[in-house]
Symmetry: C2
Subunit: 194 residues, 2 copies
């Protein structure tokens, strides 16, 4: 997605070989027009998948996901993240480990909102090791529903999440794929490889 | 806002005299068309205020706030909530107490994203005691910026937040104002009182 790629080039900050900071347009300050265009692009990419619900995880996934849900004309559910959890029968829950924060969170979704007939599109802002995406997919599968696809805003293609999701059989589409962050520069995966 | 009021009547669940559950359309599952209409209504209500930025707090405020920012053509910033915090010079921080969760969080915004010249519209999903709204307003004021207004999706008008914000001089607009939750029923503040 050219608009997003241009924004990464102009406003992204390479902190080191692993970390790209995008807090000026994606995960602290947000550009609403960019969010709307992302929503349109995700809706286009998954138009044929019979999506009935969009699922994301708080907090940075919510804005691109609500725009996607609006374009597709379906509800959005955002999963909650919490440190610890009292066992409850009315929620689906999965443990998700964050390499960035080096902590495990319980990710939860109310059983009221995903049904066995649903085709769920998972949206998230970043894909690195794929822990969050796999956790959300397991929640969809707990519900007996199917994963219609996984849409990612920025994929760090030098980390294993994308490869692992595709090998597990998921339909993965990333708006921008980053090959590396060497020498303070963002290297993109060439479009024809994507 | 009639659409929202109708949704509260049809889909809100009164848990007790204090708690209205709206997780089917506002703070867990979200109706994207309703979010868009809320964004349009907030943009209309604050059209004359010269808003340059919208500010909300993760997580449930993000969807109505991004729609408002889109309508107004300005960026959105969402404040982060965390339990504890290492002191850092590059962020504004305020303590916010949650009566619902009975815990105090540090609410943070990067100093990069609010400037002294900004007119900031604060958006949040619920107003009860006003702790979050006052915390966000103090962050705006720390930046030397001005609060253009405070837009709330659902105000529990039987709790003191609304009255206190107005007495403190803030321009407060709530899309729906609830007078009480007695006998398992939602009582609304009559429109001509709003």
């Amino acid at each position: 997605m050219k608009l997003l790629r241009d924004k990464v080039i102009s406003d992204g900050i390479v902190l080191n070989n692993q970390v790209l900071k995008v807090d000026s347009f994606l995960n602290h300050q947000m550009d609403p027009v960019l969010m709307q265009e992302m929503g349109k692009e995700f809706a286009r990419l998954f138009a044929e998948q019979g999506v009935t619900r969009v699922l994301t995880i708080e907090s940075s996934g919510i804005a691109p996901a609500i725009m996607t849900a609006l374009e597709l004309g379906v509800p959005l559910i955002f999963a909650r993240k919490q440190k610890s959890l009292t066992l409850r029968e009315d929620i689906f829950t999965e443990k998700v480990y964050s390499f960035t924060k080096q902590e495990t969170n319980e990710v939860t979704v109310s059983k009221k909102f995903i049904h066995a007939t649903d085709r769920v599109l998972i949206i998230d802002d970043f894909l690195a090791n794929g822990e969050a995406a796999f956790g959300l997919a397991r929640i969809v599968e707990q519900a007996g529903a199917s994963v219609a696809g996984i849409g990612i805003v920025i994929e760090k293609a030098f980390q294993p999440g994308g490869k692992n999701l595709i090998e597990a059989g998921y339909r993965l589409k990333s708006l921008v794929r980053i090959a590396g962050l060497e020498d303070g520069q963002v290297q993109f995966v060439e479009v024809d490889e994507a």
